[in-house]
Amino acid sequence: MVRYNGRLKCIVLALVLLFSGLSFAEDANVSWAQLNDAQRKVLNPLASEWDTLRPWQREKMLDIARDYSKMTPSKQALVQNRLTNWSRMTPYERENARKKHQQFQALSPAKKEELRRKWLEYQKYSEAQQQKLRAESPDTYTDADLE
């Protein structure tokens, strides 16, 4: 009886892993031609480089396409405009951005507005000035971070 119970648990676990593994593999290996119309529309900025993306990058982009439909048209436009830059960021930069985004979300509306204003102000600096500020950062990206 105990052996029978154990065998059943193993079968259920194997099925769960199999289904989740299959869905992951299916998402990760999909080529541009295999995407459906809705996904192609969202990920259009990445059309030329999609097939060069690594499986885990494609999976993340497909997650974005999945959540896209839940957004307002103005937010959808923002996603499309920023998608190319996002796909060209390194995993380290993206992870850093996610952490900062979470911190930003926790700020008060006044603080958020102040940061928005300051970002616009920072954009007025030349590329050389921005580069100098990056170099002055105490935790500047190392070569390993950018790989």
Partner: protein, 156 residues
């Protein structure tokens, strides 16, 4: 002791004596029957003895089975099958159909797994990359360390 009490005591003693005599007579008759059966059993042939032994074995087995069924219907059986907690016919039915109950447990696990996944998905929606891209600030703002440095210097 009054006359009435004496009369009552005598009546009771008389009744008890009669009851004891009757019980002795019944015991004597029973002993006689047992003696007669014991005497006859020595002469019973092998075929009858075998049939009697088989019938006794069947009756005992049946009694044991019935007691086991009753015990499992009113609690968790020796198999530990939780579905028998339903008791009565449902518990008995599921207890007898272990495959069915295992399938139910398996289905419950799968449903719980997918429900948890769905809940986690909804919970993390606001933290997904799509919402980061649609945020008030572009992703470069979050990742640009020069912007951090500049914020620090302007704050001072």
């Amino acid at each position: 002791m009054s006359e009435y009490e004496n009369k009552t005591m005598r009546t009771l003693e008389s009744d008890m004596s009669q009851n004891m005599q009757q019980a002795n007579a019944e015991a004597q008759v029973a002993n006689a029957i047992v003696g007669l059966l014991d005497g006859q059993v020595q002469h019973i042939d092998a075929e009858f003895a075998g049939r009697l032994s088989t019938a006794r074995g069947l009756a005992v087995n049946r009694l044991v089975e019935r007691q086991a069924q009753m015990a499992s219907a009113h609690g968790i059986g020796r198999s530990g099958n939780v579905l028998q907690l339903f008791g009565g016919h449902v518990g008995q039915y599921l207890g007898h159909h272990r495959f069915m109950s295992f399938m139910l447990v398996g289905a419950a696990i799968l449903i719980a797994f997918f429900a948890a996944e769905q809940f986690g998905f909804n919970n993390n929606l606001e933290h997904s990359d799509a919402f980061l891209l649609a945020s008030d600030l572009p992703p470069e703002a979050y990742a640009d360390k020069g912007f951090d440095t500049w914020l620090d210097t302007t704050a001072d």
